[in-house]
């Protein structure tokens, strides 16, 4: 190997150029799962030393957070492992010897690059936290990673410059999921004890009526030892299964109800059931209220409704979820007045009536449903809906698409500015170009074009 100028360590790891990444670590021969590929002693910097000097140097791209606020630079090959979303090397900290131990997470072929997962820097700090994660989990997905190596994070995920945002807002810290906060759903699953049945089972699933649309964010099969478990569906009754395949009785299993947006969430969700990792991409409608309402409208269009939705988010100061979403049902209800705004007001009223202890004590004033609430809607509300919002004492209306000829919030007329009306509300028009409006256009359907 000396002739090629590549370095090789005793565990058959080579250092050579990785296209596009600079130097990387490669397997010289096949490496079996669980074998130690490298033990890197670390060089420790005190917190003060690092703050004052280290972080202004190239070291800042390589150091790990260590305990007590120290920063560690891995010696040996430790600083040369590149990042991968599906790493084949996991690593653990040995605080006794101040070293990092790199372990093959699966069988590795000769000449394959060895990659680790540059996880969340918090995971490693304190070092003892890793004990909470079962060893198998670490090995399975390389979890346990922990550096503050930032440069590998794709720049596409960079935060949108503040001035490009359609509004100014207070940004609360991102809500990270915990094992307790993960939303789950009960789904039917079945064990396939015989490995030879896996093929026929997959084939059957492909052609069966078992609908797994709502489980599309999960892996179909979970393997534990010799047993493969197939996820079926979320129907109330156990689904009918093929007669010619040897299967266990179907049983209910608690699975995550959505894909993992972060690696932390992924680790928690994978414990329940193997879950898809789907980090948010730039340009995707995010969970801003306007993004939500647009997604709802597009979803309903696929069901044959007009692509119009209205959403009243939970007030910022509220602790419980009291958000309401509704869509236009003029088509399905064959009722020209079933606009999204009217529907959402009705949802709120029904909810209010349900939650009251004494339904007889109806009072004027208790039916001002939208006091201090903001309503988001895909389209400027029509005159009827605008007045319904005024009757309900809405605080503010935010819409995406103006309705110049029919709208009641500035299009045809502007209701809260009319003389005599007994409530004023704010009107915001979402800036154009910030959300993809394709699919929200309203044609003339059965003569109903007004909103």
């Amino acid at each position: 190997m000396a002739s090629s100028g590549n370095l090789q360590n005793p565990a058959q790891c080579l250092v050579k150029n990785s296209p596009g990444k600079g130097r990387g670590v490669f397997a010289a021969t096949s490496i079996p799962r669980h074998s130690i590929v490298e033990i890197s002693p670390v060089l420790l910097f005190t917190k003060e030393e690092y703050e004052q000097h280290g972080k202004y140097t190239i070291l800042d791209s390589y150091t790990f957070k260590w305990k007590n606020g120290s920063m560690a630079l891995a010696l040996g090959l430790g600083s040369l492992f590149n990042h991968s979303d599906s790493p084949n090397v996991s690593y653990t900290i040995d605080a006794c010897t101040d070293s990092i131990r790199y372990i093959a997470a699966r069988n590795i072929e000769p000449d394959e690059e060895l990659c680790i997962y540059y996880g969340h820097n918090l995971w490693f700090d304190p070092a003892g936290a890793k004990a909470a994660v079962p060893k198998d989990e670490l090995d399975a997905d390389g979890w346990g990673g922990l550096t503050n190596l930032q440069p590998e994070i794709p720049s596409d995920d960079a935060i949108v410059p503040e001035e490009d945002l359609p509004f100014e807002r207070f940004k609360p810290p991102p809500e990270e999921e915990t094992a307790e906060s993960i939303r789950t759903v009960q789904a039917w699953a079945v064990d396939v004890p015989d490995q030879r049945s896996i093929g026929p089972m997959l084939k059957w699933l492909k052609h069966s009526e078992v609908d797994a649309d709502e489980l599309g964010h999960l892996k179909r099969v979970r393997k534990q030892g010799e047993t493969s478990t197939f996820l079926l569906n979320v129907s109330p009754e156990a689904p009918a299964l093929p007669q010619d395949i040897q299967l266990s009785e179907p049983f209910l299993v608690k699975v995550p109800s959505s894909a993992a947006l972060t690696t932390t969430s992924l680790a928690f969700k994978n414990v329940l059931w193997p879950t898809t990792y789907a980090p948010r991409r730039k340009g995707e409608a995010d969970d801003w209220s306007m993004g939500k309402v647009v997604q709802e409208a597009l979803r309903r269009r696929q069901q044959g409704e007009l692509p119009v939705a209205a959403y009243v988010p939970t007030p910022y100061e509220a602790s419980d979820d009291s958000s309401f979403m509704a869509h236009d049902t003029r088509q399905s209800a064959a009722h020209p007045l079933r606009h999204a705004v009217m529907n959402v007001i009705r949802h709120i009223a029904d909810d209010r009536a349900r939650s009251e202890d004494e339904p007889q004590t109806a009072r004027n004033g208790t039916n001002y449903l939208l006091t201090s609430r903001i309503l988001f809607t895909t389209h400027e509300p029509c005159i009827m809906c605008s007045m319904a919002l005024l009757h309900s004492r809405v605080k503010e209306v935010v819409y995406l698409i103006p309705m110049e000829k029919t709208g009641g919030c500035g299009g045809s007329i502007c209701l809260p500015t009319l003389p005599g009306v007994n409530h004023r509300f704010g009107i915001c028009r979402w800036k154009g170009g910030t959300i993809d409006e394709a699919g929200l256009q309203l044609g003339c359907v059965n003569g109903f074009i007004e909103l």
Partner: protein, 185 residues
């Protein structure tokens, strides 16, 4: 009205007034209405904003829901975009802006109302959603006020003069008296 023979418009408005009385008895703002097709009343309704916890549940919208839910009055599968194109409304108080717009979207034939509503009337009280405001597709409709106007005002006064525990901020109205003198429109 005593001693006069009522024409059919007044008969229908009297029926609407009976619904307003029912609303008053139930502690609701006393507004009532009837919808008439071929000289027959096809729906009667009154305000239910308090009962339904929903400030948009005005008499007109209650009646419209009833008509559209009735398969005889509104045959399913009908291609008519305007289910009320042969229906006339009699309502004790001028329809508000919301209802005036709803009625236009339903293609109502004509509206008769009692007293005007200068707070949020949609048939000229505040703005003429029925006719004056342009709309690209929904046809305008004629709205005529003044029928049984005094009775409509009096019943509203009876509601507001009552010691009203249903008001948003209850106020003592002990010193108030019911005025029966009504100034001309």
């Amino acid at each position: 009205m005593a001693g006069l023979i009522m024409n059919h418009h007044e008969e229908f408005m009297a029926e609407a007034m009976a619904m307003a009385e029912e609303a008053l008895a139930a502690g609701e703002v006393p507004v009532g209405c009837v919808f008439v097709r071929d000289r027959n009343i096809i729906a009667r309704a009154r305000n239910r904003t308090n009962q339904l916890r929903n400030a948009t549940r005005h008499a007109e919208l209650e009646a419209i829901d009833e008509i559209l839910a009735d398969p005889v009055l509104t045959p399913p599968g009908s291609s008519n975009a305007y289910p009320l194109s042969d229906t006339t409304l009699y309502v004790t108080v001028e329809p508000c802006i919301m209802c005036a717009s709803a009625l236009r979207q339903m293609g109502i034939k004509e509206v008769f109302y009692g007293c005007a509503n200068d707070r949020f009337g949609g048939c000229e009280g505040v703005i003429g959603v029925n006719e004056a405001v342009q709309h690209p597709s929904h046809p305008p409709y004629k709205a005529t006020g003044g029928m049984l106007r005094e009775a409509a005002i009096l019943i509203l006064r009876r509601f507001y003069v009552t010691e009203n525990t249903n008001a948003p901020v209850p106020k003592s109205k002990a010193n108030r008296v019911l005025k029966t003198e009504i100034s001309p429109p």
